[in-house]
């Protein structure tokens, strides 16, 4: 490697200096012999200066407009095969566009695996997403976030509530033309009132596999076979809430009691008088099996989907044991360590949406069971008592029954039995 300094040559008689009016080369550029380096201007003429050697330009002697003396350094050129290293840095003007990362990745990273009831580790749900329209060639989005369009097109788009970024411009450099806008609006894509919110495009297809598919099958089977009927009753929880608060305060060392253990207790007690609710209906064999034990399923949302861990022999558990067991099962279901027999074998189910809960729900029966009790959200509501409204903590129970084997009157009586125990919580602890 050698560095050749090309000096400003003596251009003509009596000329001592010349002004650089244009550079034909830039540092880093590879040039051949006789390629033009610069145009310089004297007070007589403009003269092009060719390069006497081939090589890579490494330095220019001045900027456009600078006046240089004859004999001063015009450019410095690195000669011989300095090529390969610098070649890589040379970027031709007509270079191919940079790869567009958004368009290239069709598949999103797979979602976290979802355990199925039988197998904690389910196949990974496959997400298939359709990529949005291919962006304009050679127009990286980050560099051209503003759409290229004339003010008239921008104005029309704004008035029509169209976000120009949605339109693929057909003009040079991806410019959105009037025709592009016409075509976009003619495609029926004119959005609703709010133009401040860009329209959302694209369809994401998600394969229903694993636990989700099992849930889907069970739900469809349940609603197809069972003649559901829903029954909603309100419960005054004021007294129970006082008791609950008191117990939690008195026993800070024990697991904190939620409403759920009380409802489990009320339910298991009511089941003594309504054995037809604690049953499994084998509709193929046309046999209803009534169970003495109360195996209470607690339908719960986990990060992996809907699961129903089961409180075995709930009738044997006191409040704190119930609370403890519910917590243990919920944690096991959530982190996927629940055993198979902890997730099956229920004879009746309680469905709770926790803080959400709503006013009314119509739960789907966990077939082959025949009843499900849903807990709605508790709220202080005005209740007419005697001659005035009083604030009471009210909560609805929304239940569903299999009308093939449960009559409406029985269902209503069963719910009333639960309600009475909850409203007079002392009765929960008085063995009849």
């Amino acid at each position: 490697m050698a560095i050749r300094i090309i000096k400003l040559p003596d251009i003509g008689e009596g000329v001592a200096e010349a002004e650089v009016v244009e550079w034909h080369v830039q540092p880093g550029q590879e040039i051949g012999e006789d390629d033009l380096l610069a145009a310089v201007m004297t007070d007589k003429a403009t003269v092009e200066i060719p390069s006497p050697v081939a090589g890579t330009v490494i330095e220019l002697g001045g900027e456009v407009g600078s006046v240089m003396a004859v004999g001063s350094k015009l450019v410095a050129i690195e000669t011989e095969a300095a090529g390969s290293r610098l070649e890589a840095e040379t970027v031709p003007v007509e270079d191919a566009p940079k790869a567009e990362p958004a368009a290239a990745s069709v598949e999103k990273p797979a979602e976290k695996s979802a355990p199925v009831v039988e197998k904690p580790k389910a196949p990974i749900p496959e997400k298939v997403s359709r990529p949005p329209a291919e962006p304009v060639r050679g127009t990286p989005l980050e560099a051209q976030a503003k759409p290229v369009a004339s003010p008239a097109v921008r104005g029309r788009a704004r008035d029509a509530g169209v976000d120009l970024r949605q339109i693929r411009g057909t003009g040079p450099a991806g410019r959105v033309t009037h025709q592009d806008l016409d075509a976009f609006m003619a495609s029926g894509a004119v959005p609703a009132a709010s133009s401040r919110t860009p329209r959302r495009e694209g369809v994401e297809q998600i394969k229903i596999v694993g636990l989700r598919r099992r849930i889907a099958e069970k739900m469809a089977e349940s609603t197809r076979k069972i003649a559901h009927f829903a029954y909603v009753e309100e419960v005054d929880m004021t007294a129970l809430e006082e008791l609950r608060a008191h117990l939690n305060k008195r026993h800070p060392d024990r697991p904190k009691l939620t409403v759920l253990p009380f409802i489990v207790r009320a339910l298991t007690q009511a089941l003594r008088d309504f054995p037809q609710m604690n049953a499994l209906y084998d509709d193929d064999a046309e046999v209803v099996s009534r169970y003495a034990a109360a195996h209470v399923g607690i339908a719960a949302q986990t990060p992996n989907g809907l699961m129903v861990p089961v409180l075995k022999h709930a009738e044997t558990l006191d409040l704190w044991q119930t609370a403890q067991e519910i917590r243990r099962l919920a944690e096991a279901a959530r982190d996927g360590t629940a055993k198979r027999d902890e997730l099956s074998g229920s004879t009746i189910t309680i469905s709770s949406l926790g803080d959400l809960g709503g006013i009314v729900s119509t739960p789907v029966i966990n077939r082959p069971e025949v009843a499900i009790v849903g807990i709605n959200k508790m709220a202080i509501r005005p209740v007419w008592q005697d001659d005035r409204f009083v604030p009471r903590k009210m909560m609805n129970l929304s239940s569903s029954f299999d009308h093939r084997v449960v009559d409406g009157h029985d269902a209503a009586s069963f719910i009333r039995a639960i309600k009475e125990r909850l409203e007079l919580p002392a009765t929960l602890f008085i063995e009849a």
């Binding site: 456009v64 970027v91 410019r175």
Partner: protein, 466 residues
């Protein structure tokens, strides 16, 4: 107190305010504009317009003087020209008067009520105007803040006596024999060059290491060269300290030097920038979100308070009249219920030095800083027939475009009369032109505009006339 209700209340009658008011009037909105000084604001009264008048007069005088010295290449000679500076100022005042009267007429025409007085905000819906014949209280659905900006003072050189701002520099009794300009931004250089041409011995003091530091040295080099030809001494990397004890000179110090320099100065023009006018009219009561010294606005010129809008210099850089006017027009239309946002691609900046400088969009170094691969086309006026025939060949037109799709990112020019090319440059950027659009447009011959086409051709690799 007299109470008035209106739909739109505009505070400030400069380009931002009066355009808001005119457009609002056109759209049928009941509108009041309050101005404490004169309609037209800084621009018409003590800024753009009077400075251009002074620059024009100075140029004419300078030209005549040059011919007197026998420097005319085309053989013109004149007998010793003189300038009646009082008449120059009078002529300038006449132009200002015509334009400010014109604004008043336009406001009347569009049924805008102009109130002369100082507005004091009460809250986001009302203000009180103190007037000689009693105070008025104005209630409005919408308030548009267009209070503009004022020259920045240098603590060591408070305005007064020989220390003047651009406002006073446009209304001097006589051409000062010696003038020191503090600040080599566009205001300082425009006025400094004008006074140099009018006969002052001018020295420019700049703290940065070169003149017009917002632009690249290539673009400003022709101005630096002309300053030298005019005999203007430019002291860069130099800070102004204080007036000398006799108030007849300015003491400065060059960075890296302990010695102080004393420069004779009949007048010291301090032109180190402008600051938004945000105090003294009750703005603090609104407790608006600020962005630095400026009122923070969104792309609709909405402030943090509902139905309080702000336009112009009070909202930030670039502090240019044409930006304020575009904002004002838009705000009036938004108030009238139209869908608008400030989505301009570029705002041209023009510096009326000799030669003039225009810059629209990105400079080459700004484009590179954004990580863009660019091509640059540059065509010198040395090779432009019109420039030769005007006997002023300094400067060039430069086009900056994306290398991949040739979208034009920026256009700059320096040279005599290039301010008039700014409209072509801005149009090209606003329309989303690519190099081929400019190269493919026939530019009339012989004009300086041909250099624009040639620069685009040059960026494409096939300039014709160089």
């Amino acid at each position: 107190m007299e109470e008035i209700s209106t739909k739109v209340l505009v505070i400030g009658g400069g380009p931002g305010g009066y355009v808001t008011a005119i457009r609002a009037g056109q759209l049928g909105l009941p509108t009041i504009v309050v101005e404490e000084a004169k309609l037209g604001g800084t621009c018409l009264n003590v800024g753009c317009i009077p400075s251009k008048a002074l620059i024009h007069a100075a140029e004419a005088f300078h030209h005549a003087k040059a011919q007197e010295k026998g420097a005319s290449p085309f053989g013109l000679s004149v007998a010793s020209p003189t300038l009646d500076f009082g008449k120059t100022i009078g002529w300038k005042d006449g132009i200002v008067g015509r334009l400010t009267n014109g604004v008043a007429g336009l406001l009347r025409k569009h049924k805008v009520k102009a109130i002369a007085g100082k507005a004091e905000l009460i809250d986001g819906k009302s203000c009180v105007v103190r007037m000689a014949d009693g105070d008025k209280r104005i209630h409005a659905e919408h308030i548009v803040l267009a209070t503009g900006s004022a020259p920045v003072e240098v603590p060591a050189l408070p305005f007064g006596g020989p220390v003047i701002s651009s406002t006073e520099a446009l209304a001097l009794d006589a051409v000062p024999a010696t003038l020191v300009v503090v600040g080599a931004g566009y205001i300082g250089l425009e006025l400094g060059m004008a006074y140099a041409k009018l006969g002052s011995k001018v020295t420019v003091v700049e703290a940065a290491d070169r003149i017009l530091p917002v632009w690249d040295p290539e673009l400003t080099a022709p101005v630096a060269k002309r300053l030298k030809q005019l005999g203007v001494e430019v002291l860069t990397a130099t800070t102004a300290h204080a007036l000398s004890d006799d108030q007849r000179a300015l003491v400065v110090r060059q960075s890296g030097s302990v010695d102080k320099l004393t420069i004779a100065a009949d007048k010291v023009l301090v032109a180190v920038g402008r600051m938004p006018r945000t105090q003294g009219f009750g703005l603090e009561k609104l407790d608006l979100t600020m962005q630095g010294r400026f009122i923070a606005i969104d792309d609709q010129c909405a402030t943090s308070m509902r139905n309080v809008w702000a336009v112009g210099d009070v909202t930030g850089e670039p502090m240019l009249a044409h930006r304020a006017m575009a904002q004002g027009e838009m705000v009036a239309e938004i108030i009238a219920g139209e869908k608008r946002s400030f989505d301009k691609t570029a705002i041209a900046a023009v510096c009326f030095t000799d030669p003039e400088i225009v810059s629209v969009g990105l400079l080459p170094n700004q484009a590179k800083a954004q990580g863009l691969e660019i091509v640059i086309g540059n065509f010198p006026f040395l090779a432009n027939g019109r420039a030769m025939s005007q006997d002023d060949e300094a400067g060039f037109v430069r086009v900056v475009a994306r290398a991949d799709n040739h979208l034009v990112l920026g256009i700059q020019a320096v040279g005599m009369g290039v301010a008039e090319l700014s409209s072509a440059f801005a149009l090209a950027l606003e329309m989303g032109a690519v190099l081929e659009d400019i190269a493919g447009t026939i530019h009339a011959h012989p004009t300086r505009g041909e250099a624009f086409q040639e620069a685009a051709l040059g960026a494409l690799g096939h300039a014709l006339h160089i």
